[in-house]
Structure formats: structure tokens, C-alpha cells
Amino acid sequence: MTAALAWSDAVTAAQLFAIDPVGTGGVLVRSRAGPVRDRWVTILRAALPISQPLKHLPLHIADGRLLGGLDLNATLLAGRPVAERGLLAEADGGVLMVAMAERLPSAAAVHITAAMDAREMIVERDGLSLRMPARFGVIALDEGLDDEFAPGSLGDRLGFHVDLNDIPIREAGEFAMDRAAISAARERLSTLRTNEKQAEAMCTAAAALGIVSLRAPMLALRVACASAALSAHDEVDQDDIALAARLVLAPRALVFPQEQEPEHPEQPQEQPPSESADNDKADTDNPDLDRALDEVILAAVQAALPPDVLAALRGSSMRSRGRSQGKAGALQKSNKRGRPAGVSRGELRGGAKLNVIETLRAAAPWQPLRRREAAASGETSRPRILIRKDDFRISRFKQRTETTTIFVVDASGSAALHRLAEAKGAVELLLADCYIRRDQVALIAFRGSAAELLLPPTRSLARAKRSLAGLPGGGGTPLAAGLDAAFALSDSIRRKGQTPTVIVLTDGRANIARDGSQGRPRAEEDAINAARQLRMADITTVLVDTSPRPGASGGALAKEMGARYLTMPHADATTLSKAVLASMA
């Protein structure tokens, strides 16, 4: 797909979204900040009715502002509780724009998705119990680089996924948005419905493309309706379905059916005969038309995928489940367990820190009542503010910053021969420790000519273990590449405010240089440089020497890395985990 085509799709997405913001969920825009994205946002704004709210979500918005709660000022003035609408309720009937969505805390993402699902806000805060409508579409501007993504739960609910990263500004033409046409299309929308055949075809196509979530075909059907409304069709036709598939399904596709078996999407339908006997009607109606529609959809998706992606999808006719889960894990990387360090009611003891402002806020509404009580009981001293124990608000802190332990495992031939199995065993035991400490773990393996991120940071031990078990050994030792990968990952973890710890398991015998060329001296020099990089960045590292006779090379490398040096023979799992614990303290 050319850049021009990608841009025109992005513009179409903006139009269709403007026609049905709630039904289509929203647009996930993956793009660096820049003129192309600015132009796209301008076009989108031109499409949205002026009367509708467009609310911007600040990244680190407080819960009170996001959800709503007690408006203290108004409450004190009015002498009765006055509720303040939160941002989500204010966006009702309009659009919520989330900038830097890749950094969106998962707690905030959950609030947004809950409101999108219920289409209303349920607020139980500050003595108030409220329900407010919250029907809005979401524009998520995801500026993530390679491994940063907007929260998956949010992306799943947004119909359009648009990537503007590869569109040069000269291709991003101006577009004269016809607001009247959009509002006419809005009028038409309610009369349009997809039929059962179309729903079936969309599901079939989604399944054939390896899309697990059922929201994708549902959203695609809504998009098809919006498309029919835009082009003033009387009913949703094939072109609308094809367009919807291209915009909604294509960006989510994980596999593409092999060309040599074009019937592939049909297969699942034929498998359960009992099922099709149940609803004969649907199957016998017009199977030809049905097949045709499937093909239309798949052709549309195919057209939307860049050739190299398509080749990759074909090459692995089914990306392994582990792989796709790995991606899902990456989507979650901004996850901080959703437990913001907030404020809670509490007692002042054990070094708890009083949050003065919140305490005053808590006390404020009760002042008239307390004054009256104080007067009634004949108290003469009149402090300006009556504060009771119940008002105390304690600042809560995260117990610790989150740690991500990155395992860098040498799976080269030299290591594989001797110790790979043992190294795997040791890593497994270390994983158990990480589980207890609730750390995240990531796994990088290097062998042959490059390093590979086998597992992006995750808390799922089962997955970590699975990727480890599936790790083959053999090939050269591109130690520098492994350390570089660890450094890059540590850096991105730091940017999220978490603490990386790197555990390298290697025999230290590098023989592949950074540029992939063979030769021990070059490779060792590169490895030393890569190790220094880790030390300079002050990243906590542990080096476990896996060679049968630990020698000078491992020790020297550890020194350059500023790493704690351990050797395998003595490093039974317990010692290892203790050492790791100690170095992280």
C-alpha cells in the first residue's frame, strides 16, 4: 500500500469516525507528533460537529477529575453537596482525545474502557453516588516507538487503527472536509443495518485473519454502516464491507490465509455439520454470494497490508500463539498494576505521612455540623477549623518501584554444548523469585548472528517459562548484540519510571561482532564496549559465568559492566537468587 493510499484511508477513517463516534469506538493513531499527524487531527476536527465537546485527556489526570466527584467549592457555597462532572462525563456526546496514549496508565485506561462499555459513568465517590451518560468516541494518539503501545484493552475497543508514521508530509494532502455531508450521513446512519450474510462474512474473514477478539468484526460492521451512510447508499453494500474490512480488520491481522488454498476461510464452516444443519436456512440461501463476499473482504485486507508484512504473515501461516501473546504483553507495558499511590483514610502512626490538603478537603464539608455540636456541648475554645481523627488522609506510596528483570541468555553453540540446560534451570528458579517479588521479567536470547527479544516485559511466568523452554541452542556468540539489546530494553523500561535489572548468563566467549562479522578479537572488543554502556548507564547487572571453567574473560566482562560476578558451579539456584536479591536492594 502506498503512502498516498494510506493517507487517504486515514482521512476516510476520520470521516467515518465523525459519522459514528460511539459505534465505531474511535481511532488509534500510531504516529510520532509532527505535521502529518497535525494535519490529520485538523481534518478530523473539521469533520466533527462544532457543537460537540472535544475533550483532551491529560496523561496523569487525577481520578477525581477523570471520574467526577464532589465539587468542594460549590458544595461549601451552596451548603449542599454539589457534584462535579468528570472529564469522561463531560465528553458525553462528543470525542475524548488521549495524547501520548502509549504512556496512559492502565488505571486510567480501565476507567475509559469501562465508560465506553457501559456508555455511562457510575461514580461512587466522596459521598456521592451518581450515574451520568458518557457516550463518546476516543481518539488515541499513540506516539510509541518500537516497543511501546497504547493499552491493549483500549486499542481493542477502537475500530480504526491508523499508522501515519510512514507517510511523508508531501503525500498528506489537504482535504476539504464537507461538514454538511458528514451531518447528512449522521442522519442516514440510523436507517442502515448490515444483514446476516455480511455479519457472517466479516466473522469468517476476521477468523481467517487470526483476529481473536470478537470486537473487531462487530466494530467493522458498524464501520460498514457508517461507510454506507457516507456514500449515501440505500443499504450496506459490498464496497462498504470491503472498506470496513480494510480499515478495521487489516491492521489487526495476524495471519493471512495461504493463496494455494483459497477455500481456507470456508473450512471452519464445513467442519461442524451438526451446526449448519441447525440453521439450514442461512447456509442454503445463497452460498455463492457468501463466498464471494468473503473473498472481497480478504482481497480488501490484502490490498491494505504492505507487501513485506504480507510476506511475513504468509511465511508463518500461523504465528505461534506465544508470539501473539508476546505482543499482547508488549501492549501492556505501561501497566503499573493500576494501583496508583493515592490517598486513603488512616491513622497517623508508623511514620504515615499526613496529606494536609486532602485532610482539609475531607474536613471542610463537616464544619457547620461540628460547630453546632461544639456550641451545643458548650465548648468555648473555637478553633477556626474543626478537624477530627476521621478526616486524616494519609499519602500512600507505592511500596517499591516496579522492577523488571531482564534475562539475557547466551544460547550459542559454545554455551549450548555445556550449560544451556543448566542455565535454563537457573533462570527458572530465578523466575520463581521474580514471581514472589511480583517483578516483571523479560527474556533476551542471543545466538547465531543476532540477539532477539523473546519475551517483552511481562508478569506472566508461564509465558516466560514457555519461551525459555522453546529456546534452541547453537551458532555463534554475538555477545555484543545481546548486551546492546539489554541496554536498549533497560532504557525503555527506565523511561517508564521502572527499574531494570539485567542478569546475563554467558560463558563470555564472544565471537560475533556487532556488525555480524566473525572473529574473536573484534567481537570481544565490541562486547566490552557494550558492557561499558551498561555500566555507564548505571544499570544493575549480574553476570553469571556459565563456562565449565570460569576464566578471566567472564570476570573481565563483569568488571567492565559493573556487574556482580557469579559462576555457575557454585551458583546453585539459591545462591544465585540471593545474589540477585542483594544486588537489587
Binding site: A107, G127, L128, S153, A199, L214, Q325, S344
Partner: protein, 340 residues
């Protein structure tokens, strides 16, 4: 509130649906945790439950849903009512109360009524979500993301069945027995073990992967969205049938026998799995009995144990974080061993 999607119209997800119905038949089973994929209908099922359940009898005007048949558990206000004269009754829907993630503590446990304090300078207790959920369901979406101090609070109340509030010179205690229903996505973090243990049953929810079911899900959702009233009417008959099934199962429940043989099998199953404590056996027995009642059987049989064992036990296995066989597989293995 928007009309909920009919419970019986949910495609597949049999384990989750069965667990929710069992909890409705016997609340003592102790809650349901549904963990699984995004967009697989977890929340839909819980919200659907609200409209499915038969109504319950309460003391009219009671803010804590007191059960007129159980005077021993009355709240303070109902005790006053009794002293004053005869109680009036009312039939109300079983509460399914949402505990939204951003909820503050005062709304969960209840606090002084702000409005009355401000306007009239009176001290009055405004019951919170725990009071509203009494005798019903308390639903936490994304339970794994709930703030720690709220989790602690819930654990405390769930264990004692009573909510105690000491604030501003008020001293209130009221019954708060509810079925905890939690949903979540394991990829967004795991649940604290203490909370996990508190759920009687835990089910794993997956998006259906066979095409006909997937098409059916999308089709029904589409029908529901485009004509909610007609869709609900179509399913009304199924819903009524299910509701009657729950009502009669509740009536039958006390008379369903639990033979010694079944008790022994349940115990052996738990031993084979090394579950901690007796909670597993109790839940297993109760769930099996509720299932037998649903099916109109007079006694619990192996078949019932077999069907409820995965939900009742899979989250109680001693954690071996490195056994990626998965708890479901381990439970299945033990079932095959013990029950043959």
C-alpha cells in the same frame, strides 16, 4: 440503566454461566471469578444476571435489604421497626451492585450523609455499596486492578458478613453478605492470593474459536443493538425458564442429600491436588449440591463433582509458578485419577 443483554442469549461460555447460576442457587458457594480474554462477554454475563434472578423479599423501606424471614439478622433500623409494630414486605430485584474501580472508601462502606449534614446539620448514616449489595451480588470489573486498601476492606467484610462503621461518633453495624463476582484479564496483572481464595469458584473464559459460535455472537449482539426490545422479547421465554429453574433449585437445595461416598471422593480429590485448607472441599460440596438441585436430582453424584470440580478447585492449588501445565490441566488429571 440500559437494558442488559439476556443471560440465555449468551453464546457458549457454559462454565461461566453455570458458575453464576450455581452462585445464585446457593450464595454460600462464595463468589465467582471470571478471568479471561478481552471481549469474551464476562461483563455481559454478570450484568445479564441482574435481570435473570428471581425477585427477593425484603423489609419494605429497609436500606440494608433485610430478609423478613430472618429476624435474627435484622439491622438496627429493622429492630426498631419490629418493636413499633408489624413489618411491611416488598419484592425487589436481587441487587447486582457495581463496584467501580475509582470508588472511594466512604462510598463502599458508607459514611455520614453529606447532604443532611450540610443542609440540616444532622448526623445520619448513608449506607454504602456494601449495604446495597446485601443478599445480592457485588461486581468488580477488572478485579485485579482494584486498589489495595479497598481489597482489604472487602476481604474483611466478606469474611465476617457484617460491615462495621465507626465514624464521626456514629457506630453502625449492618449485615453485608454478598456474592463477590470479579472479572479481569490476566494479562493486566494477577490477583492477590488472599482475594483469589475468597472466591468460591473461578472460571477461565476464552473467546469462542469455532466460526459458527463466533458468527452467532456477533449476530446476536447486532440484533440486540439494533432492536433491543424485540431481541429481549424473543429471549423472554428462555429467561423465564432459567429463572424458574433457579427458584425451584433453591427450594430443593436443602433436601438434596450428600452421600458419604461423595464426601469421601471430594476429600480425595482435594488431597490429590494438595489444596490448602478445607475451603476447597466445602465449596466443591456446595457447588455439586447446587448443581444436583438444578438438575432435580435427590443426591449428589460423581457426575456433579466432576462438572464443578474445575471451577471450585483450580484457583486453590498450591502455587507452583513454574508448572505451566496450568491449573486446569492439573485438576483434570486429578479428576481422572479419583473419579475415573
Amino acid at each position: 440503566m440500559a437494558t442488559a443483554f439476556p443471560f440465555s442469549a449468551i453464546v457458549g461460555q457454559d462454565e461461566m454461566k453455570l458458575a453464576l447460576i450455581i452462585a445464585a442457587v446457593d450464595p454460600k458457594v462464595g463468589g465467582v471469578l471470571a478471568f479471561g480474554d478481552r471481549g469474551s462477554g464476562k461483563s455481559t454475563a454478570v450484568r445479564a444476571l441482574a435481570t435473570l434472578l428471581p425477585k427477593m423479599k425484603v423489609v419494605a423501606g429497609c436500606r440494608y435489604n433485610c430478609d423478613p424471614e430472618r429476624p435474627a439478622e435484622f439491622c438496627d433500623e429493622c429492630r426498631v421497626r419490629v418493636a413499633k409494630g408489624a413489618l411491611k414486605f416488598a419484592q425487589v430485584p436481587v441487587p447486582v451492585v457495581d463496584l467501580p474501580l475509582g470508588a472511594t472508601e466512604d462510598r463502599v462502606v458508607g459514611a455520614l450523609d453529606l447532604e443532611r449534614a450540610l443542609a440540616r446539620g444532622e448526623k445520619a448514616f448513608e449506607p454504602g455499596l456494601l449495604a446495597r449489595a446485601h443478599r445480592g451480588f457485588l461486581y468488580i470489573d477488572e478485579a485485579n486492578l482494584l486498589e489495595d486498601h479497598l481489597v482489604d476492606l472487602l476481604l474483611d467484610v466478606a469474611a465476617s458478613g457484617e460491615n462495621v462503621v465507626e465514624r464521626e461518633g456514629l457506630s453502625i453495624r449492618h449485615p453485608a453478605r454478598f456474592v463477590l463476582v470479579g472479572t479481569g484479564n490476566p494479562e493486566e496483572g494477577e490477583l492477590r492470593p488472599q482475594l483469589l481464595d475468597r472466591f468460591g469458584m473461578s472460571v477461565e473464559v476464552k473467546t469462542p474459536n469455532d466460526l459458527p459460535s463466533r458468527i452467532e455472537v456477533v449476530r446476536r449482539r447486532d440484533e440486540f443493538d439494533s432492536d433491543t426490545a424485540a431481541f429481549t422479547a424473543t429471549w423472554a421465554k428462555e429467561e423465564t425458564k432459567l429463572r424458574k429453574g433457579i427458584t425451584s433449585a433453591r427450594e430443593r437445595l436443602p433436601s438434596v442429600a450428600v452421600p458419604d461416598a461423595s464426601l469421601e471422593r471430594a476429600a480425595r480429590l482435594c488431597m490429590a491436588l494438595g489444596t490448602d485448607g478445607l475451603r476447597g472441599e466445602l465449596t466443591l460440596m456446595r457447588a455439586a449440591r447446587a448443581l444436583a438441585a438444578l438438575e432435580g436430582k435427590k443426591a449428589v453424584g460423581d457426575e456433579h463433582l466432576r462438572r464443578v470440580a474445575p471451577s471450585a478447585l483450580r484457583h486453590r492449588l498450591r502455587r507452583n509458578p513454574l508448572d505451566d501445565a496450568g491449573s486446569s490441566v492439573r485438576v483434570d488429571r486429578a479428576i481422572a485419577e479419583v473419579l475415573g
